[in-house]
Assembly symmetry: C2
Homo-oligomer: 328 residues x 2
């Protein structure tokens, strides 16, 4: 499969006429006499030597690899998060091993075993088990789900996000609100969006209704629900909060197709701040999650883990971003 005549440190040492240990020190940036260093660097250059991370990993028990557990990449939030996580890890000199779990706790466990075998230095998981535990002492950080006090979790302020959505809709003059959401069977941080929304509605004395689905694969019930609530082109609601931009975008598309004007007839707010769907010209209003910051926080939480520090849960702020108009 591969012809394997890659030069090793030994070859470099011979070429440079120095000891093996000296080559190692040059490579690892440990002080070495100027003339030696130059000779070694020259030899490395000449031979096209590349370090073998497997030999290094075996010896040092550190691999510079982090496992990323994601339920799927077809949801744009996960894709964006994975994108940022990978970029951020690379910046820190880490490689990311991507594992797709399909929302399946069993698969998640298998991935952790695989990660253990692969000696990853850490795991960042967006898990759908209530209590995922690292397979061994590998450090782990979760996103959007608490998995016990020993595992730090980073999320954005979903509860507050829900509140903001309701407040914003109220501010825009809406009085009959609808909350649409696809929820996980095991409630995690994400489900707090609904709680926050509900609390704010109650506090503001605004009528609200909700439709919550547990099936990720079809949006048909949403359409049916909306159709039932549109009488002669006028919807029962004047404000809708969707718990993802993707959902908001589809509902918007549907409503526009029904001849309902947005935002004139119905105000629509999504959630996530995915630029694909929101925060541009002609796009949805949204509650923006600081995706890049979530990724950075997760990474630094993971890499700083000293074994001594107390695991911290970090909750990052969200904000409202108005969408563009649909008319010019």
């Amino acid at each position: 499969m591969k012809n394997n005549d890659n030069p090793t440190m030994k070859d470099v040492a011979r070429e440079a006429g120095v000891a093996l240990g000296t080559v190692s020190r040059v490579i690892n940036g440990i002080p070495v006499g100027e003339s030696y260093r130059l000779r070694v660097e020259e030899a490395i250059e000449k031979l096209g030597y590349r370090v073998n991370s497997y030999a290094r990993g075996l010896k040092t028990n550190r691999t510079n690899c982090v496992a990323l557990l994601m339920p799927s990449l077809s949801h744009p939030f996960f894709a964006a998060l994975t994108d940022k996580l990978t970029a951020c890890l690379m910046k820190h000199g880490y490689r990311s091993i991507l594992m797709i779990t399909n929302y399946d706790p069993e698969a998640e466990k298998k991935c952790l075993v695989l990660g253990h075998e692969n000696k990853v230095d850490g795991v960042i998981a967006l898990t759908y088990s209530p209590d995922l535990q690292p397979d061994d002492a590998t450090p782990m950080v979760t996103i959007d789900r608490h998995c016990g006090d020993s595992i730090p979790c980073v999320s954005s302020d979903n509860y507050r996000g829900g509140e903001i959505a309701a407040e914003k809709l109220a501010e825009l003059g809406c009085r009959r609100l609808l909350f649409m959401s696809v929820a996980s069977d095991i409630p995690g941080e994400v489900e707090k969006r609904g709680e926050g929304f509900e609390a704010a509605c109650r506090r503001l004395h605004i009528a609200y209704e909700q439709i919550i689905l547990h099936d990720r694969d079809t949006e048909a019930p949403f359409y049916d629900f909306l159709l039932r609530h549109i009488r002669e082109g006028v919807p029962d609601f004047d404000g809708i909060f969707c718990n993802t931009d993707r959902l908001a975008c589809r509902m918007r598309d549907f409503l526009l197709g029904q001849g309902i004007r947005i935002p004139e007839d119905v105000q629509l707010i999504g959630y996530d701040g995915i630029t694909d769907y929101a925060t541009g010209r002609y796009t949805c209003s949204t509650i923006v999650q600081p995706i890049a910051q979530i990724a950075e926080t997760a990474v630094s939480l993971l890499l700083d883990t000293t074994g001594l520090a107390v695991p911290t849960n970090i909750c990052l702020p969200v904000h409202y971003a108005p969408g563009g108009t649909t008319r010019e």
Copy 2:
């Protein structure tokens, strides 16, 4: 960072009272006497032994890791492809190391070096360099871009896809077509969609115009273009072909917002077949790429590489899928 008292094969051997080699054979499925095998398996179970892939990789020079070079995950096609590739690789017992290149040829080269150091067994690249070469003898497969005769490339039939789009629009009665596209500076397979579209239009004697952008970051010129071509609510075009679903979806959203009916006033066809945007109720028509099949083909092309077989370019068929209506 990690307490490291993981049991090794030596521990297992001692526990089971057999030789090291025997443990190795059990683990690797090489025939071993029944009683020995049981003893070893028991010891493995009892100690919670896990193979150390770094030791194994060092010895065998095979790592069961494949590097995935992707320009970004924020485009849903790349995300979906990465999702499928990873799933497919996992099924074959391979792990995928994800590398994000940001469409940057320099970054791509660095990723290949990183891959080499990490001793990946192969590389699957969606590259934006015209001539990406593997850093060493590592097998490589590209997607949607030919990088020389020695490197197999898998893509779908973009030229035909463009043709189909034009034919379909013609069939639906359209006579003034528009092609909208975001194109790469260095034309790859993807740019053939436009060629096919153009050729078909000419062949069918249908008028067409096109707007091709080279900036991935803004869609403003598209909106401006459309606005210039809408006179008193009536667009100059009765059929639009967008070179991605994402683009089609945004244009559709915009047109609907302008009060233009789809598909009554304007027929719209996207490209990719991303379920997020197309092929559902209330969604765009599209040319469907067989994403899962592309992923599977790339993987099997990569893993079957024997060093002897002639590199093959594979072109998979695409098909048209009608979108849902916007009215009920």
